[in-house]
Amino acid sequence: MEIVGQFKLALVALVVLAILDVIRHHRLTPHLATDFLPFVAAILTGGLLVPVLLPWLPFRYFALKGMVAGVLLAAILLVLLPMGLTEGVGVVLLVVAITSYIAMMFTGSTTFTTQAGAKLEVRRALPPILVSAAAGTVLRITATFV
């Protein structure tokens, strides 16, 4: 459900990345696949890996559990994919924001979360997630032009 729910996000990311690819190379290139990979990996990490590893991921806040998974994924992506500094920082911020947000959505799928706790988590985690996503988007787009 969480993976299906993020399909729209993936589609928007794909369209934006395709536009950036055309701007940079004046046509669609195979780079688009590697550009899109971090988004697919982030959605799968947040939607599949986080719930599977839930008891073993540190912290009680689901968003922090997602952040831990996101940081690990980002480290792997930085090693595997050739990225400049601006693009790399942008991708890290976006990946961590996506995994953290999707992980937080799993609070409703468990038998031990409370409404007061979920309210506190949303209040504390949502602003940094939004800032991270916005900064990541700006850096990722900027990286096309530098």
């Binding site: 009680r60 937080m104 031990f112 409370t114 409404q115 007061a116 706790g117 979920a118």
Partner: protein, 91 residues
């Protein structure tokens, strides 16, 4: 597993409690223990504030702020979706 603020709003009035043991029976996380005809909160940190104990307490000795512990539902209500109802639309 435990979350944040578990059992935060759970209050048991020992004076009103008649020790019937219904709370101990219905609690999915064994939060209550009845000893010497009185219920007591033994594992507050395991409470998910589902409200089953409050609903089943004949003497109204239990108070708890029950609700769905779902971030998607909280965000929906913040966005004004579903009006006053805190729902994640998952059915």
């Amino acid at each position: 597993m435990r979350y944040i603020l578990n059992g935060h709003s759970l209050v048991l009035d020992a004076v009103l409690c008649n020790g019937c043991g219904r709370c101990e029976e219905v609690c999915p996380h064994a939060v209550f223990v009845v000893m010497e005809r009185k219920a007591m909160i033994a594992n507050r940190e395991d409470c998910m504030e589902c409200g089953a104990c409050r609903m089943n307490c004949a003497t109204k000795a239990i108070e708890v702020s029950a609700g769905v512990g779902c971030a998607a539902a909280i965000i929906n209500s913040m966005r004004g979706k579903n009006g006053e109802c805190v729902s994640c639309d998952c059915g």
